[in-house]
């Protein structure tokens, strides 16, 4: 390129295509904020998507509207990046920030000592500039942005004001609560109060990782009487169990056993109803006899999960899954927000298999219904019939259920289904909104989360016909505002309402399964 400050003077610059090690680096980062205010913290987890050589993940294929930029020429795309930040609120004007990043800069020929030196220098300089910017925050562009986005900043400020507790009082909760007999909770489930669940799950390894970008667990629920088998760390993270019961989201085909705990939610598909029935019977017996003696084995093939590493070891009775949180701080902080399970089962659902005895559909409970012990699942699934029938129900294709503390309309599900990337059902839960678009409160700080399942094509048609023949109204509703008339019809079934004690609980639910989307 040439340009001349004068007719007789030229500055000539040449740019050269640089070899791999001298190219700019780029990456696409998906970051998610996590409400940990019950521990006086906010966390941010970021993961990169796509790599230099590999295509973007299925996640992006599923959402073609999401822009995923091509790698520019002459740029090296960093293959994988995992980063996390934890902001601990000491008081109103003092924060402790921890940032951890795992990244492969693809500089194998560059001495590590040099990379470390530069990294340290950049980190120090970065925080220095952040401090300077924060000191001059008022009147800056950032202040204007804050005013422009009340849907984000006001919400955060409101949650901080509502939930943040003095630093000395921010202690981990529910570590050693005494056992207590369960009692019947809303929706017919068993409500355990202050019970650390020693229960267990066995996950079939071959059913793990059906979707690589998702933390999937197809579950065979195993009841193993093994008092010597201590509680699994992941079970510890589940915390106090508040409610256990079966849940029927759209039909028996998506029946699931739900364990709602103080620090998370587990949805276990009824892919093996007899085992689930046994568990429910066990749980029912517990009501009179005390807590169940169940142990847990997680088995899985390793799959990646943001902020988690999963490892499996074969112990002869399934594969034991160990979950390692990469971030030390997050391990403590995120213990309340461990991602949990989503069932996937395969098989063929024949209309004849559906009957009134094991198919349930019920309109959602009205918002604002009573919440028991923090989180209550206001849902009907008639567990008694499910237990007594003992039928084995096959499921047609996978069904996804995600819980999100997201105030946006459930466009992702509709986009997923209408784009043809969800050959089967999909679903999510969204925090319910009022007519003004604001989160629908269930009194006080409680938030209402509606669980929505969506389906298209064969599954919906088949289920609808079968239900109609059985004289059952499944209550499917078409999604409103679908973008294209060419898209296959997508139907939604709003099936249950979760009332969370606080926005933090709702966020925990979001974290629980939001990685699916």
């Amino acid at each position: 390129m040439t340009h001349g400050p004068a007719a007789h003077l030229r500055h000539v610059s040449q740019s050269h295509r640089t070899p791999h090690h001298w190219q700019d680096r780029d990456f696409v980062l998906q970051a998610r904020g996590i409400d940990l205010l019950h521990r006086n913290s906010l966390a941010i987890i970021g993961t990169s998507r796509g790599s230099q050589t590999g295509p973007p993940s299925d996640w992006y294929d599923a959402f073609p509207s999401t822009p995923y930029p091509e790698k520019p020429r002459g740029v090296t795309r960093v293959s994988s990046t995992l980063c996390g930040g934890l902001i601990r609120i000491i008081n109103g004007h003092k924060l402790v920030v921890s940032v951890v990043m795992n990244v492969d800069p693809l500089m194998a020929l560059v001495p590590t000592s040099l990379i470390n030196f530069v990294t340290r220098s950049l980190a120090c300089a970065g925080f220095s500039m952040c401090r300077k910017q924060l000191a001059s925050f008022l009147g800056s562009e950032y202040e204007r942005r804050v005013a422009e986005k009340p849907w984000f900043y006001d919400e955060v400020a409101g949650r901080v004001a509502e939930q943040a507790v003095p630093h000395s009082a921010a202690v981990p909760s529910a570590e050693a609560a005494p056992d207590a007999p369960p009692r019947v909770g809303a929706g017919g489930g068993f409500l355990f109060t202050e019970l650390n669940l020693p229960n267990g799950l066995t996950v079939a390894a071959e059913q793990f990782g059906l979707l690589s970008s998702v933390f999937w667990c197809a579950v065979n629920f195993a009841e193993t009487q093994s008092p010597d088998h201590g509680p699994h760390p992941l079970t510890n993270r589940l915390g106090e169990v508040l409610w256990v019961g079966s849940v029927s989201l759209a039909s028996p085909a998506v029946s699931a056993l739900a364990i709602v705990a103080q620090r998370g939610l587990a949805l276990l598909p009824v892919s093996n109803l007899s085992r689930t029935t046994a568990f429910l019977a066990s749980a029912r017996a517990v009501r009179a006899a005390g807590p169940p003696s169940l142990s847990v084995t997680f088995s899985a093939d390793a799959a990646s999960l943001p902020a988690f590493r999963l490892r499996g070891t074969d112990d002869g009775d399934g594969t034991t899954l160990s979950v390692t949180l990469i971030l030390d701080e997050a391990e403590r902080a995120l213990s309340a927000h461990t991602a949990f399970f989503l069932g996937v089962a395969h098989g063929q659902l024949e209309p004849g298999q559906l009957s009134g005895a094991n198919m349930r559909s019920q309109a959602p409970e009205p918002a604002g219904a009573t919440a028991d012990e923090g989180v209550s699942v206001l849902i009907s699934s008639a567990s008694a019939e499910l237990c007594s029938s003992g039928a084995h129900l096959n499921v047609l294709g996978p069904t996804a259920i995600a819980l999100r503390g997201d105030w946006r309309a459930p466009t992702l599900v509709s986009a997923l289904a209408s784009a043809g990337h969800a050959p089967h059902s999909a679903g999510l839960a969204d925090i319910a909104r009022g007519s003004d678009g604001r989160p629908l409160d269930a009194g006080g700080s409680k938030k209402v989360v509606t669980l929505i399942a969506a389906s298209r094509g064969m599954l919906h048609d088949q289920m609808s016909r079968a239900a109609q023949a059985a004289g059952i109204n499944l209550g499917w509703k078409p999604f409103v505002g679908l973008p294209s008339s060419e898209a296959p019809p997508v139907h939604a079934l709003q099936q249950c309402v979760l009332v969370c004690e606080t926005g933090g609980d709702a966020s925990a639910l979001q974290w629980a399964l939001s990685s699916i989307f």
Binding site: T18, H21, D26, L29, T66, S98, F127, F137, Y153, D406
Partner: protein
């Protein structure tokens, strides 16, 4: 794989710090000592977003231009 861990104390309201993190397109002007291109791609949910980052390599790795 390189791991970086940084701790720092910051004297500011949490909302201000979040603004620095959340406003991705301003990061380039904030971190002026690096050639950083950052732009948001999609707001996936209220608390989740997708962003693109391109980091120009720093000296002595930066792209060289010659001006004879």
């Amino acid at each position: 794989m390189h791991s970086i861990k940084v701790h720092a104390e910051v004297s500011a309201p949490v909302g201000h710090l979040l603004a620095l993190v959340n406003e991705v397109d301003l990061l380039g002007s904030l971190l002026r000592f690096v050639k950083l291109e950052a732009r948001p791609l999609a707001q996936l949910s209220r608390f989740s977003q997708l962003a693109y980052f391109r980091l120009g390599l720093f000296w002595p790795f930066e792209v060289r231009f010659t001006a004879p």
